[in-house]
């Protein structure tokens, strides 16, 4: 089926790579996104692809998965020239891609089992009539091959009843069921907790041992350090670094970011003395029926909350914001009772939330940057509207100020959010809530899918806000992300606060220990 051409002469010592790219390039409307990328991915190896947002990683992935077909250069699969003309063609050539957005990979309304065998169902050939028993048997086969330990009752459930991490594993299992030659994983752990990520790593290692080539795209250096045999760095459409183990991280990070930045940031210096209590929780259970928690969040500092998926991190954030009120307990804001029943109440009180999922919960698609920023404050920020009429020059000014303050890379404030890279979109979402100086700013996974440069910028803004006297709460599953930005570190597991430590007491190992101790 695939158009073939005699394989190029190779020296016998060099095995033919599973997939090879030669001078692959791509431009959109005159803008070069990939300049000239050549990369061989050997069978049975894990190649990590690093790059800041906008470096061209997504474009490269889309070329490999047959989405972008009008690229320059050539792609060889097992030495023969391959035409990746469609996602189907790419799959038939043995290139499977697991995209970052999990929602795009599952079909709601179908069961877990149907989702597992979906690609086989979707194929034209074969028996058009569904056979529930055969389907379940095939699904069982797929899940047991990957040790997912899903019982039949799980397989029969609607897929929407699965949590995010199980959905991610499902998509991965489905990709592997076709025995691909190359598996492309785009930020596969971005929605997973550490324990769940370990499960995924074990899978990736097994695939490698089975001879599958893996292209692993991630921002998480620790994962790459643990998994990859080789790492390459993409910057501005060019491969700028190619390392074999052991990795030189300083060099890799320098290649990835424009300016040389130290690999790990120093722990923040405390701004001053302990601030007054901004927000206090008394007897608040994070989940129905879980033990009630007490917590004081102080002004003038950044409080970091480390929690795995299901620890109650998002419940804490959404409860404080009134998006999903707590089942019980009492809250006080600056000493006064505070009971937000909806986000509007919280915003009026100066409590703002940057939600976990910027696409689903924060951005309005198709809108300009300025419009996205002004949305919550059209009424409360006085000059933005008078007698209901929106003052667009004031709105644009607010957009420009935000671009400036957070270093958003965009044409101007009229760019639509879709034109921005993920990191810059996140800066817009964070910047929105800085428009009106909040008393309490809650950031739920603010660094997800964000490059290190953007992560530093956002972290700096959060610290600056705390230094101005606000209380800042940063919630994340990534220990390093929290340690990098927080004065005080809390560890949350199963709805309970396990560790509460300041400064030097909040060492990485202690934090990790307190998480693992409660597993």
């Amino acid at each position: 089926m695939s158009p073939t051409e005699p394989a190029p002469a190779v020296r016998p010592s060099e095995p033919i790579p599973a997939v090879g790219l030669r001078d692959v390039s791509m431009a959109f409307g005159g803008k070069t996104v990939l300049a000239s990328v050549s990369l061989d991915i050997a069978a049975g190896s894990v190649v990590a692809l690093l790059g800041a947002n906008g470096a061209g990683k997504s474009t490269l992935i889309k070329i490999l998965s047959g989405v972008h077909t009008d690229h320059g250069g050539e792609v060889r699969v097992n030495g023969s020239l391959a035409a990746l003309q469609s996602p189907l063609a790419a799959r038939q050539l043995g290139i499977q891609t697991v995209h970052q957005r999990i929602g795009e990979g599952i079909v709601p309304g179908l069961t877990v089992a149907e989702n597992l065998v979906f690609e086989e169902l979707a194929q034209a050939r074969g028996n058009p009539f569904l056979n529930g028993r055969r389907l379940l048997a095939r699904a069982r086969e797929i899940q047991s091959a990957l040790d997912l330990n899903w019982s039949d009752s799980v397989l029969r459930r609607d897929v929407t009843e699965l949590g995010v991490s199980d959905r991610q594993l499902l998509i991965l299992a489905r990709a592997l069921a076709t025995r691909p030659r190359l598996l492309v994983l785009d930020e596969p752990t971005s929605a997973l907790s550490a324990a769940e990520a370990k499960r995924l790593f074990a899978l990736v290692e097994r695939m490698r041992d089975d001879g599958i080539a893996v292209l692993y795209v991630s921002h998480r250096l620790g994962e790459i350090d643990a998994l990859a045999d080789r790492l390459v760095v993409l910057r501005d459409g060019l491969l700028t670094e190619d390392q074999a183990r052991p990795f030189d991280w300083d060099s890799a990070l320098r290649a990835m970011l424009a300016q040389a930045q130290e690999a790990t940031a120093a722990r923040p210096q405390r701004a001053g003395d302990q601030g007054e209590i901004a927000l206090s929780l008394r007897g608040v259970p994070l989940f129905d029926g879980h033990p009630p928690q007490d917590l004081d969040i102080r002004a003038g500092e950044v409080t970091g909350v480390v929690g795995l998926l299901g620890a109650g991190k998002t419940e804490l954030a959404r409860g404080l914001f009134g998006a999903e009120p707590f089942p019980a307990g009492a809250l006080e804001l600056d000493g006064r009772p505070y009971a937000p029943r909806r986000p509007a109440d919280a915003i009026r009180s100066g409590v703002h939330l940057v939600p976990e999922d910027r696409h689903a919960d924060a951005l309005v698609p198709g809108w300009s940057l300025a419009q996205n920023i002004s949305l919550p404050f059209l009424r409360s920020l006085a000059p933005l509207s008078a007698a209901g009429l929106v003052n667009r020059s004031k709105e644009d000014a607010l957009g420009r100020a935000t671009i400036e303050r957070l270093g958003v890379v965009a044409r101007d404030e009229h760019s639509t959010v879709e034109e921005l890279s993920g990191g810059n979109q996140q800066k817009v979402v964070v910047g929105r809530w800085l428009a009106e100086r909040p008393r309490v700013l809650i950031l739920d996974e603010p660094f997800r899918g964000v490059d290190i440069g953007a992560r530093r910028d956002i972290g700096r803004r959060a610290r600056a806000l705390a230094a101005e006297g606000a209380a800042v709460l940063v919630l994340s599953a990534d220990v390093d992300e929290v340690l990098e930005v927080a004065d005080r570190v809390l560890v949350l597991t199963a709805g309970e606060i396990r560790l509460d430590a300041y400064g030097d007491d909040a060492e990485r190992d202690r934090v990790i220990q307190s998480i693992s101790a409660s597993v």
Binding site: G29, G30, K31, D236, A323, L375, L389
Partner: protein
């Protein structure tokens, strides 16, 4: 390869314009294609048919489309919040009946009739809001349900008969009232030669445009349509605003009903039925007219005018009236091609 002059990776300042000529042509086609079609047709009709050039014909055309256009404005508002109002035709029909009932059966003056009709429209909108916002029924289905309920209620209200002045009522008496002259002037009267109904259409278009495009309320309606959860987390009372859109749609539909009642001059029980599809078509055409790909007021108004020009022109050309539906349907599909097929290719 690593010389500093290399321009392989353009810097921000050196970036070429983001769109090539081909893309620019395509986006111009999407943006102005529909207006171009309208102007071309208009010119063609005007050049080939002297009677089409007559200003009376043009005003008549506008008068004819004013009802569907005003109903379309309501549909546009509900589409802005990501919904749809299928009950506008029925609400307009209810308005006709309520107007007739108030003036003919209860012998009230025109102002009372107007207030009663608008109140009925607001009430119908509230019913839609209750079903959609509180009871969480999908908008299309909920308004389809209210459409039937309103049509049925209307029939019960008049014992299944059209109300005409001087008719014999079910208790044997003669209906005491009539459509007042003032009320009849809504559609038949003119100011400086322009029919009042056309002026109402124009005024409502401007008001709706300011509301939807220039105020924060309109902005919020669009936000809800584009991403309801993000809107809620931005502190917006999503339910209240969605309810507002349906109530406003009901009110606009009832104003369309007033014009229709004034035009017919009696409580025709079948009035309004044909207006639904026209109103929805006009609003859908409106999403594509200016290439915005989203519901917008000027688009809806222009869409209505466009459909009016085509039907009037073809009627003058001698096309039988029963071909009108096919023509309108074709216009709608062409508009949908513009807003979905072409613009999708642009963003791919």
């Amino acid at each position: 390869m690593t010389t500093t002059q290399s321009t392989e990776v353009p810097t921000k300042a050196a970036l070429p314009p983001a769109t090539s000529t081909g893309l620019r042509v395509q986006s111009a086609v999407i943006k102005y294609g529909f207006i171009f079609v309208t102007v071309t047709l208009f010119t063609y009709f005007a050049l080939s048919e002297p009677s089409f050039r007559d200003s009376a014909t043009l005003l008549d055309t506008l008068r004819y489309v004013s009802v569907a256009a005003i109903l379309g404005l309501g549909v546009t508002l509900t589409m802005a919040v990501g919904g749809m109002d299928m009950s506008v035709g029925a609400v307009a029909g209810l308005g006709v009946t309520v107007a007739a009932k108030t003036m003919v059966t209860y012998n009230q003056v025109g102002v009372v009739a107007i207030l009663a009709v608008v109140a009925a429209g607001a009430l119908a909108g509230l019913l839609n809001a209750l079903l959609i916002v509180v009871l969480k029924i999908p908008d299309m289905l909920a308004t389809l349900g209210t459409m039937f309920v309103i049509q049925g209620t209307k029939l019960i209200l008049v014992d299944g008969q059209s109300i005409t002045p001087g008719m014999t009522q079910s208790d044997g008496t003669t209906a005491p009232g009539k459509f007042t002259d003032g009320f009849l002037r809504i559609d038949r009267g003119t100011v400086l030669g322009v029919p009042v109904s056309v002026l109402i259409f124009g005024a409502l278009t401007v008001v709706a445009w300011v509301f939807l495009a220039r105020t924060r309320w309109g902005r919020v309606l669009y936000a809800i349509g584009a991403n309801p959860e993000a809107s809620r987390l931005a502190g917006i009372r999503v339910g209240a605003y969605r309810a507002l859109a349906y109530v406003l749609s009901g009110v606009l539909a009832s104003i369309g009903g007033l014009i229709l009642a004034s035009r017919i001059g009696q409580g025709d029980v079948s009035a309004g039925t044909s207006q639904l599809l026209e109103a929805v078509a006009v609003a859908l055409v409106g999403t594509s007219v200016l290439g915005r790909g989203r519901p917008n007021v000027w688009g809806t108004a222009l869409g209505a005018v466009l459909i009016g020009i085509i039907t009037t022109g073809l009627t003058i050309k001698g096309l039988p009236y029963y071909t009108q539906d096919v023509v309108e349907g074709a216009v709608l599909i062409l508009a949908l091609v513009f807003s979905f097929t072409l613009s999708k290719r642009r963003t791919a």
